[in-house]
Assembly symmetry: C2
Homo-oligomer: 198 residues x 2
Amino acid sequence: MAAESKPLRSDAARNRDKLLVAAAQTFAERGLDAPLEHIARRAGVSIGTLYNHFPTREALLEAILPQRLAALEEINASALADPDPWSGFVGLLEGIFTLQAEDHSLNDAMVQSFSLSTDMSQACGGGLGDVERIIERAKAAGRLRADFDVQDLVTLVWAMSQVIRESMDTAPGMWRRCLSFFIDGLHAEPAAQPLPSR
Amino acid sequence: MAAESKPLRSDAARNRDKLLVAAAQTFAERGLDAPLEHIARRAGVSIGTLYNHFPTREALLEAILPQRLAALEEINASALADPDPWSGFVGLLEGIFTLQAEDHSLNDAMVQSFSLSTDMSQACGGGLGDVERIIERAKAAGRLRADFDVQDLVTLVWAMSQVIRESMDTAPGMWRRCLSFFIDGLHAEPAAQPLPSR
DNA sequence: GAGAAAGTTGAGGCAACCCTCGATTTAGTT
DNA sequence: AACTAAATCGAGGGTTGCCTCAACTTTCTC
């Protein structure tokens, strides 16, 4: 929105960078509610300085997460670029969860951004149109069951986030197995039971 | 193990009961890490009295949860009693998650009891033999895919617990839809893709 | 290199929750 | 009614994390 209103003093710019690095690492390791003091210490800076640059935890997150979530755009893009709509769709799922499995903060963020509606969710919401397109394309090709929609993907993200959280430190990759089961339930053919209503 | 070693004084017995009721309600509403002070206040008793009766949070939980988890035994029993192995298996899943959806503390407990191995998980573990039998029966009938096992059920509990947690206050019942998708992936027939390894 | 503006610091106040222990009250007994 | 063991009470000390602000230090400019 505002261009950089004030040019930062050199030491301030340096500290801001150190804070961003430390925050990214700490959040990735310990999740979105990691203590801000840890971040300040890791950056070699006092807690007051942290608050100077980022008056709230959210400000700090907004400085970090959009960059990370940008990877989602790429995932969307290559899903759409896939000539096979179904494998594009499956690639989307695998891409999302691989991302979440690599980074505690993304895992947390994916859950929260769909609960709360922060500015951050827009960064992600920008890509949500693409997601819809990927889903529709797979349906139109007769490969994805017709009653699956974006909200169901959100629910799936909730579900997988917990699987990832519980297993990421002890058995990373376990989530793939769970996802496989789920994907096998998403094929168009069986149309086993009519779904319960929303 | 020990029979009631000392008969409680009448007021103590009364307070203990009030604490158990208050704790059950509070945990059900707010999850397993609800503040103990809330429970004491709700029981009309001081925090010191709570600690008198239950020296740790775990002691309190062990006095409450086994009773609640006993419902699982019934669910197992009626799943095994079902003449159709597949619908017994599906009934098992629905039973478990219905329970979790009614009670925050059970939802938390089902996740934690599979992570940590407390005494509590044994109450649940006692029934795990039954669960295995239900799974095997559905496989033997050729209805449940052969590569599904108990560990996969644990993973499913993790997954569904998050869906339930996120939706139970705003859209209770939404989890059923998610479960349907998953169940449709568990049929024996499609055997779509070989699963990724553990 | 001196002055002003910008930035940094960390102790300290606040809040939530945990748990303890000496003073006090109560239930049961003779 | 008096006594005692059992039970209760709740203030207080400990911890963790949040956030602020007045005193200090650094950078930048002239």
